[in-house]
Structure formats: structure tokens, C-alpha cells
Symmetry: C2
Subunit: 392 residues, 2 copies
């Protein structure tokens, strides 16, 4: 009887990322596979001080049940941060989520019925594919180039009125590192209003820009309430707290709050209070500057080493921020086969296919540059390049 159930179960197979994370835990393996921030850069002392203050001053409130929306004082700080990102909103427009991942899950719950179409960049974020697959989404990849998703292609698909939403990562996209151009941000906001198309703007890397000018998010051009904006503290403070947020129109937010209540009641009170105190008492912008300086250097080392070592026929993106770059090999390259050899040689990455919900992309590799120090990046890229050269 349960055909949909059987289909969903077969779709819910362990992801390559998860298996890769296991491989990359082997001692001695250089991992460009995960999407992990550099733990040595976490503001451990400041978080410790914030946690001690919460423990000393908040007492029982830090340990009690709380509202599904999240703690008001943290939502106020997020509204301030949104203003700095050119998004005008109040604390009431913010919903705290258990990481951005939960934001994707709640959107699936509220908006997706089995078979519903959603538009995505080509390629798109693996964990978003997983989140929406749970709701049996019908992925419609949209033409995408170096400036991001192509608005005309979105418009054409939206005109048919079949898509529940467009899912897009505007800055330093995962997996490609590409950034959506300013003109296209405006265009997408205009299409959203005109076609009544929801846009899910997932922006975890907004503040991780190492070169060039910050661009205002699509949400900042949203006049119709059709843009839903997601972000997180995972990259600017620490991911272990699992604390992200959604900014949406009151109508959408109310639905998301109800879904959130059914999903986990609320995000950890303790973690929310520690983050709130950290943001209030310490200079997070200075911390983010330090992170950007370190990641920017790591990116430059990876790019330079690739240039020196990779054989002809390989190209890669030049992201201005974020955590990933995207290597494209010759059409005949099979990144899964490269990975098998690479793991034997002590280096790991994520093969491209996982980012294409409808298959393809066999000749691509996603490389993370935030989680390894420069000398390790040089070593790992040298190993990887040697394998690529041998396989040509």
C-alpha cells in the first residue's frame, strides 16, 4: 500500500557527505570534504565568559522550556544584524531555528506536498536536497552561470506556475563558491513579486567575504513579502550551538512557528542565551574579521597551489568568500574514481554528483578550504593534483 513511503525510504540513503565525514575522521587524512569551520578560530574564551555570565545570572531560565519563536533578546540582536545586511525587520519577524538546516526542514513541512516542484541552482546544496527529498520534492534545476542562477530561466519556469519556491544561496554558493550578481538579485525580487513566486534565500556565508564589496541580499529588494531569508551563527560564531534563524512575512512566519513547535518545541534555551550574551558583551565583528583574514589566506593558498599543480584540462571557481571552491575536470573525468584513489593517498573531497538532484556532474569536485591550515592545503592539493594528472 505504501508506495510513497517506499520511495521516500529509498531516497533516504546515507549521504556521501556523511560517509566522507567518517572517512575524513581517519587519522592522517587531509579533508577538503566537510563544510567545517576552523575550530582553532572559534572565540572559545569569549564564549566561555558569556556562558559563565549566563550560568551566574540567568539561573533557572537558561534551563526551562521557552517560546517556539526563540528568546526575544536574541531575536532583537538578529534584527540588528539584519539591518546591517540591509534587511529591515523587527524581532517579531525572526524565528530562531535549530541551525539553518531546520529552517529548510520547516519550509519543506509547510510548503511541500509529495511531487511539488521546487527550483534550484545547478548544482545546489547537498543538505538542502536531503531536507526537501524527505518531502518528496520534484527538483527542477535552473540554468546557472558564473553570476548565479539565470533570472530569465527562473521567470520562464515561474510563468508556468508549478513551482512552490526557488531555493538559492546568494553568496559564495555551496558547492560552487559563486555569488549572485547585484543585478540578478534585483531581478529575482521583481520576478518573485510579479509571479508570486516564493524565494528561499539561504545565506549562511554572508559575512565571510574576503575580497570585493558586500552585496545586499535578495530580501533587501523584497517588496512583496515573497522572499524568505535564512541565516545562522554556525559560520560567524560556532556551529555546535545549532542556532540559526528565518526572517519571513508574518503569514509565513506564523506557519513556520507552528511547524517549529511540532518539530522540537524550541531551540535550546541555554545555547540561545549564551549566544545572546556573547553577541552583547564581545566584538563579533572583530572575530569575523579574523576569520575572514584566515579563510582568505587559505583560499589564496588553495587557488595558488591548484594553479601550480593541477594538470591541463582542469578549471575552478574563484570565490570571493565562503568555504568552498569547485573544480571542474575534463568531461571524461569520474570524480568518484578520483575520490577512491585520493582517500588511499590520504586526501578527501566531495564528488560533484551529490549536488545535482537529478544526476550528472560526475566531473566535478567540491573542495573546502576553511578547515585546513595553509601548509596542509599545499600538501593535500599536491596529492590530489598528482592523482588527477595520473588519471588523465
Amino acid at each position: 500500500m505504501n508506495t510513497a513511503y517506499a520511495q521516500r525510504m529509498s531516497a533516504m540513503k546515507p549521504s556521501t557527505i556523511r560517509e566522507m565525514l567518517k572517512l575524513s575522521e581517519r587519522p592522517g587524512v587531509i579533508s577538503f570534504a566537510g563544510g567545517l569551520p576552523a575550530p582553532e578560530l572559534f572565540p572559545v574564551d569569549d564564549i566561555r565568559a558569556a556562558a559563565e555570565r549566563v550560568l551566574a545570572e540567568s539561573g533557572a531560565q537558561a534551563f526551562q522550556y521557552g517560546a517556539s519563536e526563540g528568546i526575544a533578546s536574541l531575536r532583537e540582536q538578529i534584527a540588528d544584524e539584519m539591518a546591517a545586511r540591509s534587511i529591515a525587520c523587527s524581532a517579531d519577524d525572526v524565528l530562531i531555528t535549530t541551525g539553518s538546516q531546520q529552517g529548510l526542514d520547516l519550509l519543506g513541512k509547510v510548503f511541500l506536498d509529495p511531487g511539488d516542484a521546487i527550483l534550484t541552482e545547478t548544482p545546489t546544496y547537498l543538505a538542502a536536497i536531503q531536507a526537501f527529498q524527505c518531502f518528496e520534492a520534484n527538483f527542477q534545476p535552473v540554468a546557472t552561470d558564473d553570476e548565479g542562477v539565470v533570472p530569465e530561466a527562473v521567470d520562464e519556469l515561474a510563468a508556468r506556475g508549478l513551482a512552490r519556491f526557488l531555493y538559492v544561496i546568494p553568496n559564495f554558493q555551496n558547492p560552487t563558491g559563486r555569488t549572485l550578481s547585484l543585478a540578478r538579485r534585483r531581478q529575482l525580487a521583481e520576478i518573485a513579486a510579479r509571479r508570486k513566486l516564493l524565494i528561499v534565500e539561504d545565506d549562511p556565508y554572508a559575512r565571510l567575504r574576503y575580497r570585493g564589496e558586500h552585496l545586499p541580499p535578495i530580501k533587501s529588494f523584497d517588496t512583496s513579502g515573497q522572499v524568505i531569508y535564512l541565516s545562522t551563527f554556525s559560520k560567524t560564531v560556532a556551529p555546535g550551538f545549532r542556532t540559526g534563524w528565518i526572517v519571513a512575512s508574518p503569514e509565513v512566519r506564523d506557519k513556520l512557528v507552528i511547524a517549529k513547535q511540532a518539530a522540537d518545541l524550541h531551540t535550546s534555551s541555554f545555547d540561545q542565551l549564551v549566544l545572546e550574551r556573547y553577541l552583547r558583551d564581545f566584538d563579533n565583528s572583530l572575530h569575523v574579521e579574523r576569520v575572514c583574514a584566515a579563510y582568505g589566506e587559505r583560499y589564496a593558498v588553495m587557488d595558488e597551489t591548484l594553479r601550480r599543480q593541477m594538470p591541463e584540462g582542469f578549471s575552478w571557481t574563484r570565490p570571493e568568500g565562503g568555504m568552498f571552491l569547485w573544480v571542474s575536470g575534463p568531461e571524461t573525468m569520474d570524480a568518484m574514481a578520483v575520490l577512491a584513489e585520493a582517500v588511499d593517498a590520504g586526501v578527501a573531497f566531495v564528488p560533484g554528483t551529490d549536488f545535482f538532484p537529478r544526476g550528472g556532474g560526475e566531473n566535478h569536485m567540491r573542495l573546502n578550504f576553511s578547515n585546513a591550515k595553509p601548509e596542509v592545503i599545499r600538501d593535500g592539493i599536491a596529492r590530489l593534483a598528482a592523482i588527477c594528472a595520473r588519471r588523465l
Copy 2:
């Protein structure tokens, strides 16, 4: 086009519990509405010491991404706790969830297609109704008496083979406070094996027994792997950490891990480590004894005050533990109308209808006794009894 979507949205209305929690936040309102533990009993000093040790010793690990299954050392402690509850399992059988509520959500995601039947006690837990409603479950209430759900009724419905699972709270059930008898636990495990019926055993209150003997859970009689066991630290340590767990067969657990990964990647690393350290370094059993002594007294005061004050025609359950008792009024009573008057008189509770997924139960009230001190309970019950007497 989206009929299922529209139905789900209309089902996803804010719950009475949520509105009640808002009412009960008004200053001066005595709330028997929430399901909140008593914050003055939280082991604040011990948690603070555990958190300080984690912050001093774990450093970056406490703030980094972790495995979806949860932290191994915490799962080992949970396996020990399971042994104390007569359930033989290893750390590998345990999945950490973001509160028990997430356990319900993941079960819905893995097992429910729109319209799938699930069997529940009559009445059943409001937040479980909400969790399963998101997946458009078809609720099949099963006959239930003072010894809990009636096995023969379960067997008859299971024989038709239409139910995805039976959802049951064995100890001090929410909302009734009833406990499933030992004989019925054995019978349900036997039915699960014979009919290949999954049982979801949700046991948050296991250790909150104030009188009588602890009873082994249904899962302890499970020979077929058909019983999925859920519990939480919310009642024995603190709910603000949003940390619960599921014990299931390897096959079911693997599916749940994948759903968990898509839902929020993993539960807060920091919270897991703090709980692990608290359980390792401090005497949680002694803490639970203190909680039981306090809640047992509060229950006794509520029961005694009800006996002295409530008019003829009202009866209520005599739970041996947990946090709730269940008041039944005359058939003609409308608990929603009583609530409206009660809130004006400064006392709140949850009306019975919310616990009946298919309607009914208008003449019942759920009263929480864990969150108010004895003198407040006396005052609140006196106010409530006066309203009930006036309305007769």
C-alpha cells in the same frame, strides 16, 4: 492544486497549549496549564559546574559540528540508564534527538504518508497529535481505561493491518496520569511481535514515580524489534537543553539517523557535552529523588484540595507519578467555558478537547501539579472549584 497542502495548513493552527502558556505568563495567574518542571528544583549548581568543566576541558569540540547520532559518551550513559530501566541496548542503538518532540517528528517523517492510520490512547498527548498531524496522520483512538490502552482493542485494529504504529505513553500518561499495567505491557509486546505492529513507547516520566513499584517498559518485553522507545532529560535534568533520545532496532534507527540529519544535522554539541559531564560527575539519582519528593507532595496537596473543594459530580485520576491529573466533570460541563471564567479568576488549565484528535472530551480538564508550590496549588484549586460549583 494543493488540497493536501491546504488541509495541512488548516490543521496547523496554534495549539491551545501555546495560547494557554501565553495566558499563564500574565502576572498573578496561577497556571496548571503548562507541562513545565519546577525551575526552583533544577540542579543549577551542578549543571553550572559541569558546564564550566566542559568549557575548560573540551574547548573547540563543544562548539564544532558533530555526528547526527549524537556524542558517543552521552549515548553510553543513556545505554546504562536504559539498563536500569530493564532495556538491554548498547550506545549504538541510541539516537540523540532535539528533545523527545523531535523523536515524534522523525518517526512521522520516516513512517507516515498522508492518510496513514496510527493508533493512540484515548485521550492522548497534545504535542504528539501536533507532530503527527504535520504528516496528515489518520488518528484511530483506541479504547482506554484506568489500566491504560486496552490490548484487545489494539489487537483487533492491528489485525486489519492498516495502522503504521501504536503511540502510547506507558507511565503517568499525558494528559490522564494513568499508568499502563504490567500485564498489558506484556500483552502489547506480544501483539507487536505477532501482528508486526510497531509500537512507539514515549516514556518521559519513567523516573517520576512517587508511589508504588516501577514497572518495566513495553520495550523490555520486545522480542521482535517492533518497539521504539523514546525518553528525555527534560524531566530528570532540565528541558532547556532540548535533549532526548530514541532506542530502536538497527534498521529503524538507521532511517531515523538519516531523517535526523535532514532535520537539524545534530543536537547541540555543547548541550550534549554538558549533560554528559553532569551525569558523569554528579548524582542524578539523588536529584531525581528530590524532584519526586517535591512533586509527590504537590500531587498530594492538589488531590486533597480537590477532595475538599470540588463539588459533587467531579472525579479525577490518582496518578502514582508524573506531572498531571485529569479531572472529569458532569457530561454537560464545557471546560472551555470554565477556562474563560478561570482565567478571569487568575487560574489556568488545559481543556480536555485538545487531547482528543477526533473531537469530544469537552467535560475534562488537565491539571499540572509540578510547576506550582503547595500553597499556590491550594489557592488555585479553591478558585477553580468555586467556578465549577457556580456553574453546576
